[in-house]
């Protein structure tokens, strides 16, 4: 997990929260939110690379919607789980996420903008792993237990289109 320019990242989050929190001592919660969201993204990276579907599901909120490329949206936890089952049955990922931005929108909502790079191995194929590069937008919700979880998640490839 890389955090590009973590100082700027913190600045972005503080700029978002400062109008709500007048005293400097109240900037601590912003710090904690950034750390908590970074930790969730780190867990997601590890869970993807180890095809750990139970850990993936712990990172998703109750009414989550997952929007993988080349697929209709997976709405709700059962559909999200089925979508990841399909992914992990089909490919093995070895990817590294870079966090470009985390912004806390309100007490309960935040987003993270990331990129991921690495390789994807199609399990049914004899072909070697191929380069994989995506960009992602995570919308996170703070659940009633205080944990930030993925409420909406969409990604798309940044690789050039395949030529016909």
């Amino acid at each position: 997990m890389h955090v590009r320019n973590p100082h700027r990242l913190l600045t972005v989050a503080l700029a978002t929260l400062l109008p709500l929190s007048v005293s400097a001592s109240e900037s601590k919660p912003a710090d904690r939110d950034l750390a908590a969201i970074t930790r969730q993204l780190d867990r997601y990276e590890q869970a993807l690379n180890t095809a750990d579907i139970d850990t993936v599901m712990k990172l998703y909120a109750e009414d989550a919607v997952f929007m993988p490329q080349h697929s209709l949206p997976a709405e709700g936890r059962d559909a999200v789980r089925t979508a990841y089952r399909h992914v992990f049955d089909t490919i093995h990922l070895d990817i590294d996420f870079t966090i470009d931005e985390i912004t806390v929108l309100s007490h309960d909502w935040a987003y993270a903008r990331t990129r991921s790079n690495g390789t994807v191995k199609v399990l049914a194929s004899d072909q070697p792993p191929a380069p994989e590069a995506n960009q992602e937008l995570f919308l996170l919700h703070r659940d009633s237990d205080g944990q930030w979880r993925f409420a909406r998640y969409i990604f798309s490839t940044t690789n050039p289109p395949m030529l016909p």
């Binding site: 919607v65 929007m67 993988p68 490329q69 080349h70 697929s71 209709l72 949206p73 470009d100 931005e101 929108l105 309100s106 309960d108 909502w109 987003y111 903008r113 990129r115 960009q135 992602e136 937008l137 919308l139 909406r152 969409i154 990604f155 798309s156 490839t157 940044t158 690789n159 050039p160 289109p161 395949m162 016909p164």
Partner: protein, 125 residues
Amino acid sequence: MSIQSVLRSYEAALNANAIDTILDLYGGEPVFMPQHAPALVGRDAVRAGYEQVFATIKLDVRFEIHEVEEAGDYAWARTSSAGRTTILAAGAQVAEGNNELFIFRRENGAWKIHRYLFATTQPRA
């Protein structure tokens, strides 16, 4: 203008290749994350991104708004779009279908597109 109205304006502007209208819908520090390209950061990069899109394809799509949530001076919307795309160089039409996630920011009292990522729902070629 409500977020729904912004999205309707975006739909109309996309179908009309109206780059200036599209840029008016974006805020001061936008990031547009189209498929097959690194994130376009800032208004100049976003404009260049749309110029390239409109030089390559002609869109005829309709957006369906699935959900809109406001959170203070931010909001988000989840939409999907479907229609036809004409690939200008080939003159060929293909089916278009995407999921979209928009983050909006209130700037000078108006909702503006702040972050935007879309991904096709079409099966892999």
